[in-house]
Amino acid sequence: MMFPARYHREMPHRYRMEASKCKKCGAVYFPHRLICRECKGREFETITLSERGKLLSYTVIHTPASQFKDIAPYALGILETKEGAKLTAQIVDLPYEEIRTGMELQIEFRRVQTDGHEGVLAYGYKLVPVM
C-alpha cells in the first residue's frame, strides 16, 4: 500500500535524483544520510546525480511482486553514476537480449507503480537506452 506521506518524502531522490556528498571525504550517498559511512562526517552538500551511468549487473524478473504483475517479465539492473552512486532500477525500452553488463544507460523519470484504480500513482526513475 502506497501511503502519500511515505511516497512524498522520497520525492527529492526519486523525482530530482538528489544525492548527498560528504563535505569531509567526498563520499556520495543516494538517498541522503545523516552520517557518512566512510568518515562519520555529518555535513553534506546536496548534489544532483548525472543522467547517465554504467550498468553493473542485471536480471529479467519473471516472478514479480503483485504490483508489478502487469509488466512482467521486466528487466532490473544496478547502475553506477559517474559520481559513484549506485542504484537499482528497471531497464525499459530495450529488448532483453540487447542488455549487456558495462553498457551505458540513461536515467529517466517514469511511472513506477500504480496503487489500484484510485490510489497513488508512484513515479521515479527507470533506465533507458542513451539517446
Binding site: 522520497e10 531522490h13 543516494f30 538517498p31 553493473l56 549487473s57 542485471y58 536480471t59 529479467v60 524478473i61 519473471h62 516472478t63 514479480p64 511482486a65 503483485s66 508489478f68 521486466y74 532490473l76 539492473g77 544496478i78 549506485k86 542504484l87 537499482t88 532500477a89 528497471q90 532483453y96 553488463t101 513506477v112 507503480q113 508512484a122 521515479g124 526513475y125
Partner: protein, 385 residues
C-alpha cells in the same frame, strides 16, 4: 565467560503443514528438544522469527510461545534479523548463558509461511530488502540474488551447470534427511530446464516456502552431564556482522563481507582455522548463495567456489562437506527457524547421529546463517565437548 553446551535438540518434518498452527509448530519442536534432556525449568527463551506479523498477523511472539509451551513468568524474547533470525536467537541464548545471567535457555526458531498466498509470501520476504530503493523499483529476493549470480558468472566465467551442481548435491543429501521438505533426487538437467524465476536463476536454484520450527536447549557446560544423557556439544565461537542492506551499495556483488567478518570473528573466538572445520551448514537460499558463501567463509578462493561445487568438493565425502542436511534447498527454509535447524544438524553430525548423511570423523562444525541479500550474517563454531 562460561562454556556453553547444546544438550537437547528438536525439529519436526518441514513442509506445507496446513494442519499445524504457528504456535503448534513451535511447541512441537520445543517439546522434542526438551525430551532429550532432564530439564524441568527454563530461565529464558529466545525465538527467531522473521515476520510473524506479515505471515500470520502475530507479533508478541515471545510471550505467546512461552504460554503455549506451558511456561509462565520467564523472560521470552523474539529475535529478528530477517532470514538470520534463528542464528541471531542462538547467539542471544549463547550470550545469556555464557554471561551467567541465565542457566537453562531454550533457543527456538519458527515460521509459518503457507497461510498466505504466494504474493503474500513474496511481499513478506521482500521486507528484508531495502523497501524504498530496491523493492519500490521492482526488486524481489530471487532478483537480488540473480544480480549477484550474473555478476559472478561474468566475472569468473562460472557456468550454468556449475550453479546447478549445488541444488543437485543438496537434494542428494536431503534424500537421507527424514525431516527434509523435498526428499527427491534432481539432475543438472532438471535445474537447467526448470521455470525461470529471475534470469539466470530458475525455480530449482531457489529454496522453497516452508512451515517449520526448530529448538535447542543450552546450559553451562559444567551442568550438561547432569541434565542430558546425550553428548554435550560445546559452542566455541559465535559472531554476527552486518553490511549494507541494499545490494547496490556493496563494494562488490560477488563477495559477502558480512559472511567474511562474522566467520573470521567466530573462528578467532574458537581458536580454529577454517580448514579445521569438518562439516558446515551454510545459507543456500539460492544456488549462487552457497557458492559465494563458501568463498567468503574461506573454503575456496574468490571465483573458485562454483567449480569446487561441480567437482564434488562440498559433498559429504568431499574435502569440505557443506549442507549434509540438504540445506535450505531440500530441507526447506522456514526463514526464522533455519538458523536454529543448522545448529541442530551440526549437533547430529558431531554426536554421530546423522545416519546415512553422516560426515566421517566430524569433530568441529560450523553454521552460517544469512539475512536478506547478505545484510547480516551469523556464524557459530561447535565441537564435541
Amino acid at each position: 565467560m562460561r562454556d556453553v553446551a547444546i544438550i537437547g535438540v528438536g525439529l519436526q518434518k518441514w513442509g506445507e503443514l496446513w494442519e499445524k498452527s504457528f504456535r503448534d509448530l513451535f511447541v512441537e519442536a520445543a517439546l522434542n528438544a526438551l525430551a532429550e534432556t532432564k530439564v524441568d525449568k527454563l530461565d529464558h527463551m529466545y525465538i527467531g522469527c522473521m515476520s510473524g506479523g506479515l505471515f500470520v498477523g502475530q507479533e508478541h511472539i515471545g510471550a505467546i510461545m512461552a504460554d503455549y509451551l506451558g511456561q509462565r513468568y520467564l523472560g521470552a524474547t523474539r529475535v529478528e534479523s530477517a532470514c538470520a533470525s534463528g542464528g541471531a536467537a542462538l547467539r542471544a541464548g549463547f550470550i545469556d548463558v555464557a554471561s551467567g545471567m541465565s542457566d537453562i535457555v531454550l533457543v527456538g526458531g519458527v515460521e509459518k509461511m503457507t497461510d498466505v498466498s504466494g504474493d503474500g509470501a513474496t511481499y513478506a520476504l521482500a521486507t528484508a530488502a531495502d523497501q524504498e530503493y530496491e523493492v519500490y523499483n521492482g526488486a524481489t529476493f530471487p532478483g537480488l540474488y540473480a544480480l549477484m549470480a550474473r555478476a559472478y558468472m561474468e566475472k569468473f566465467g562460472a557456468t550454468r551447470d556449475q550453479l546447478s551442481a549445488v541444488p543437485v548435491k543438496n537434494h542428494e543429501n536431503g534424500l537421507n534427511n527424514p525431516n527434509a521438505q523435498y526428499q527427491m533426487k534432481i539432475s543438472v538437467d532438471d535445474v537447467n530446464k526448470s521455470v525461470m524465476v529471475a534470469d539466470p536463476l530458475r525455480i530449482l536454484d531457489c529454496s522453497p516456502i516452508t512451515d517449520g520450527a526448530a529448538a535447542l536447549i543450552l546450559c553451562p557446560l559444567e551442568m550438561a552431564k547432569k541434565l542430558s544423557d546425550k553428548p554435550a556439544i560445546k559452542i566455541i565461537g559465535s559472531a554476527m556482522a552486518s553490511d549494507t542492506i541494499a545490494l547496490h551499495d556493496r563494494r562488490d556483488f560477488t563477495t559477502l563481507d558480512a559472511v567474511k567478518m562474522s566467520s573470521m570473528a567466530a573462528l578467532k573466538m574458537a581458536g580454529k582455522a577454517v580448514h579445521d572445520v569438518n562439516v558446515t551448514e551454510v545459507h543456500d537460499c539460492f544456488s549462487i548463495a552457497e557458492i559465494i558463501v563458501s568463498e567468503s567463509l574461506g573454503f575456496f578462493a574468490c571465483g573458485k567456489g562454483a567449480a569446487a561445487a561441480a567437482n564434488g568438493e562440498t559433498r559429504i565425502d568431499g574435502k569440505f562437506p557443506i549442507n549434509p542436511s540438504g540445506g535450505l534447498k531440500s530441507k526447506g527454509h522456514p526463514v526464522g527457524a533455519t538458523g536454529v535447524a543448522q545448529a541442530i544438524e551440526i549437533t547430529y553430525q558431531l554426536r554421530g547421529e546423522a545416519g546415512k548423511r553422516q560426515v566421517k570423523n566430524a569433530r568441529v562444525g560450523m553454521t552460517q546463517n544469512m539475512g536478506g541479500s547478505g545484510g547480516s550474517s551469523v556464524v557459530h563454531v561447535m565441537e564435541v565437548a
